[in-house]
């Protein structure tokens, strides 16, 4: 299965076809499975009629989608064992919260296996984690948790924000011989964009300037990219918006270059604040790009509490493009 034949595309947005984020991920899964018979999907409710929020409804190889019991820890071990034995599993979690049940397998096994045995066994395993927002679901069903995974050496973490990126990164993830945590925000699913029909892989660890600007660098992840762009557009802000696309490996250089130009940094990441991805990027810049900084680095994240259920509190909890705009204006004042 010469995945090396798949184009490595660096173009930002080629193709003249416009499809949704959901279609793009679905197409990537379908193509990966068609292209390589070793690829299969496994997960709780992955094979049911809802097709993982519609992303896996129209697969050519439905027979390679395996439903599972509510046994996330063992299922991760099963996927790992299958990966070591010659398959390329795509494991699926309908909510990232359920991955906590499998943290032992993820942290102690999946992340460490390749290192512990020095590449004599490879771990071509992609774990899709769908994230979303509350709608009254409360603390146990609203996690994002990218920072936890980014903390663990041995895991790659991807959080694409556009249909183009989600397809190219997903295929890159399946092609890769390291485990990848692939985090998809469900509120992106209906978004549209240019996506080539053919298979392509984006380089892993390359970020992307999604908006040019001079006075501030905003590093944003996943749906926060969309909210930040809206904030900048609506308010005509002279701000550079950078989407790292993969949280690990991180495109440090691109971030530092941008801050070298703007002199200021805001990180917008929808996750808990302490020891989070926003902390990481701030620390990186204050460590390696200190000389560029003209003012304090800043973070915009979830507050330091779990997700509440009631609508009023949810509104207070979640960042938004309005809140991003306010913060940016304060910084630029």
């Amino acid at each position: 299965m010469p995945w090396s034949r798949i184009t490595q595309s660096h173009a930002a947005h080629d193709g003249d076809r416009i499809i949704t984020y959901k279609e793009a991920i679905g197409e990537a899964i379908d193509q990966a499975m068609e292209y390589d018979p070793r690829v299969f999907a496994i997960g709780l409710d992955a094979n049911d009629k809802f097709g993982v929020f519609g992303t896996m409804l129209n697969l050519t190889h439905k027979e390679r989608v395996i439903g599972t019991p509510i046994s996330e820890n063992a299922m991760t071990g099963v996927a790992l064992g299958a990966a070591l034995s010659g398959l390329r599993p795509i494991m699926i979690h309908l909510r990232v919260d359920f991955m906590m049940v499998a943290m032992d397998q993820i942290v102690n096994y999946v992340a460490k296996w390749r290192y512990m045995f020095q590449g004599q066994v490879k771990v071509p395993l992609v774990i899709r984690a769908v994230i979303g927002r509350g709608w009254g679901s409360g603390a146990q069903h609203s996690g994002t948790l990218q920072s936890l995974f980014t903390h663990i050496p041995g895991l790659k973490v991807m959080m694409p924000s556009s249909p183009y990126d989600v397809k190219g990164l997903f295929l890159a993830a399946v092609k890769d011989d390291y485990p990848v945590i692939f985090i998809e925000h469900r509120w992106l699913y209906k978004n549209t964009g240019h996506v080539p029909k053919e298979m392509y892989c984006l380089p892993i660890g390359k970020g992307h300037i999604v908006r040019q600007g001079n006075r501030l660098t905003v590093v944003a992840t996943s749906i926060a990219v969309i909210d930040t762009l809206a904030a900048c557009k609506d308010n005509d802000l002279d701000v550079e918006v950078l989407d790292p696309r993969t949280l690990k490996p991180l495109d440090e250089e691109l971030i530092l270059q941008s801050v070298a130009k703007t002199g200021r940094l805001l990180v917008v990441d929808y996750d808990f604040p302490r020891c989070g991805f926003a902390s990481e990027v701030c620390a990186l810049v204050a460590e390696k790009g200190f000389q560029y900084l003209r003012g304090p680095v800043q973070r915009l994240t979830f507050p330091e509490c779990s997700m509440p259920a009631s609508g009023v509190l949810e509104k207070a909890f979640y960042p938004s493009s309005a809140r991003i705009a306010t913060r940016i204006r304060e910084i630029l004042k």
């Binding site: 019991p69 063992a74 906590m100 069903h141 259920a309």
Partner: protein, 319 residues
């Protein structure tokens, strides 16, 4: 044992069982009416059709007995004593809700009635029930604990770990599996490869009962709970039920592998028929009961509606 073989408990008890089942049913039917108006912004997992299980079990529990259930909260919560007002207000996201609006439909609490918090992550509550029973034993108290869960939860390793630990330490806990043969849309045959009473029987006394028949549940649970209390040891009981509604939301289920006979399988009808036969209830007294419950629900809705939302600046509290 099927319903007909089971002797009716005394009249007061029977009427109580009926009323409790009707409270759950009618409460949820009201949710179905109100839900489309978006006054409740929280996912609901309805208990309609499965009322016999929580009602038959909770009839044997005191407020001091603890219970730990899961995302499908309304049935066991009401049966264990949560007030309709507090539950409705929680669904409405108000500060008067049982969880003050922070929990939502899946996360309810009522320490006064032994509900120390429900979990929407499948499985974990089972262990908490064991822990609560351990506490009772450690403190030399006489309340017991109930771990209340669905068939899907038995897929999870924590279920087996909990059986093992409870048996090892001999703590007074009832493992109550409400087996509706479904985990979301998956039939039991796809998620579990054993008969539960059989597999659990390796760890402790285990049995299974028709969970659409409240008298059968009442009897079996009575026996099981007596053992838990008297012998201070764990017991497993499975209630075989049918889920009438979709896993989540307010629509009727229509899975081909979940055929529901809303006449035959209805725990409320079954009991009403027995009570009519016994001459303890008539169409009229049943109607009166239903109307009384409707009023109670009206009151709960009104209470919820009038209650305040939490304030934005109360977001970061108790953390």
């Amino acid at each position: 044992m099927s319903s007909e073989q089971i002797a009716l408990p005394d009249r007061t008890n029977c009427v109580r069982l009926l009323r409790m089942m009707r409270e759950i049913r009618q409460f949820e039917e009201r949710i179905i009416t109100l839900y489309p108006t978006d006054v409740m912004v929280t996912p609901v997992h309805l208990h309609i059709g499965q009322e016999a299980a929580p009602v038959g079990v909770c009839a044997h529990l005191t407020p001091a007995d603890t219970i730990f259930f899961t995302h499908r909260t309304h049935g066991p919560a009401l049966a264990k004593g949560l007030s309709m007002r507090k539950l409705m207000a929680e669904l409405y996201g108000r500060t008067t809700g049982c969880s003050r609006g922070y929990g939502g439909s899946m996360h309810v609490v009522d320490p006064e009635h032994g509900m120390l918090g429900s979990s929407s992550i499948v499985g974990g509550g089972i262990a908490m029930g064991v822990g609560s029973a351990l506490a009772s034993k450690q403190m030399g108290r006489d309340w017991i604990s109930v771990s209340y869960f669905g068939d899907g939860a038995t897929d999870a390793g924590i279920f087996w770990e909990s059986l093992n630990f409870a048996a090892l330490k001999s703590v007074p806990v009832l493992f109550l599996c409400e087996n509706n043969q479904l985990s979301n849309v998956m039939p039991k045959s796809e998620h579990l490869s054993v008969e539960l009473a059989n597999a659990a029987g390796a760890f402790m006394p285990a049995s299974s009962v028709d969970g659409t028949d409240v008298l059968a549940v009442h009897e079996a649970a009575g026996r099981a709970i007596r053992r838990v209390r008297e012998e201070k040891r764990p017991v497993f009981l499975e209630c075989r039920t049918k889920r009438w509604m979709k896993h989540q939301g307010i629509e009727r289920d229509d899975l081909p592998w979940n055929p529901v006979d809303r006449e035959k399988d209805c725990p409320i009808r079954k009991l009403e028929q027995r009570l009519s036969e016994a001459g303890w209830m008539t169409a009229e007294t049943i109607h009166d009961m239903a109307r009384g419950i409707e009023k109670q629900i009206d009151d709960a809705v009104e209470f919820a509606r009038q209650s305040p939302f939490p304030a934005e600046d109360e977001l970061i509290r108790e953390v």
